[in-house]
Symmetry: C2
Subunit: 190 residues, 2 copies
């Protein structure tokens, strides 16, 4: 039986469990308008002119060259589980100005870089087949946390009601606070 690559995305409600979305009454519901990019998961994202600028390609892709970045989702899940560190997943695109702006702040913020050492870190410029990693759509930038119990922390959200996992550069303190929240592990259910 042959399966095409395009089926992959449909075939993979697996690996992870989202927690039930917990949204405590937020004081201010914001709509994110035009500050995130739609992830063009079906377009080839690099051309030959980009190619010349960026060699050799790094796993950090500029989000922190001193951090240890994982290549594959499977390895990231495995490391999170075995090291008992939460997993932080950054979806971004090289040609998305909002991703680039967030990356600049993220990579230059000492507190974030220090906190990130306590996580298993991975960044993707391509969607994984795991639909739990796009609970409200495939936009970028989009940051999700996964507990070492391999549960997506869907409760850890940013400020925007229509793009729950998007962050702007001005949200950096909220991101720091969310990283701290992710470090407080989920308690096993009774």
């Amino acid at each position: 039986m042959k399966r095409s690559a395009s089926e992959i995305g449909e075939k993979s409600n697996r690996f992870l469990n989202s927690t039930i979305m917990r949204k405590p009454g937020m004081p201010l519901i914001l709509l994110l308008v035009g500050v995130s990019c739609i992830l063009a998961s079906d377009s080839v994202q690099t051309n030959s002119s980009e190619k010349e600028d960026k060699f050799p390609l790094t796993l950090s892709r500029g989000w922190g060259d001193d951090l240890y970045w994982i290549q594959t989702y499977e390895e990231a899940l495995y490391r999170s589980k075995t090291t008992n560190k939460p997993l932080m997943i950054i979806h971004h695109l090289e040609d998305c100005p909002h991703s680039q702006a967030l990356k600049k702040v993220f990579s230059e913020n000492n507190e974030i870089q220090k906190l990130a050492e306590q996580f298993v870190m991975i960044n993707f410029i391509y969607e994984t087949p795991d639909k739990h990693l796009y609970p409200d759509g495939q936009y970028v930038p989009r940051i999700l946390f996964v507990d070492p119990s391999l549960t997506v922390r869907a409760d850890i959200t940013g400020r925007y009601s229509n793009r729950l996992y998007a962050y702007e550069p001005s949200d950096i303190n909220l991101l720091i606070s969310n990283m701290k929240k992710a470090l407080k592990m989920l308690k096993p259910e009774l």
Copy 2:
């Protein structure tokens, strides 16, 4: 329903179809003894001392810094299909001397590096869940080709009957010839 990361490997007879193994009577059947490493897919492969040597981590990992390397298997399949280039997958380990020896020859050989531009290239230090990528075991170094029709070219093998997809540095001409074979696409079945 929760699924643990350890189940991932068992759950994935998907994505690809191996072709039926074609082994034309080989003039000399060789046994590969002690020249490949068992891929310790369940061990953490990097420690902090390695960490200091290798930053920033690159996607090429030394197999050719001027080539364009893909991060994820899903993207590699997608690019192979849409660009009609065959996919070349190198499994290796940083602490495997046989992988390192092959990498040195591979990265320094101009003909290989030039040929590699005609492929979608990916290298893994961690196994994917796709069992079609380990038709005869999870050893390294191990090189597999995938046709743009997303069929594993299980017929393109090295010299060793017990590790069909292993190559030693001295097999570099066979690897070149296998790359040329992979560039001749499979004909659709009649």
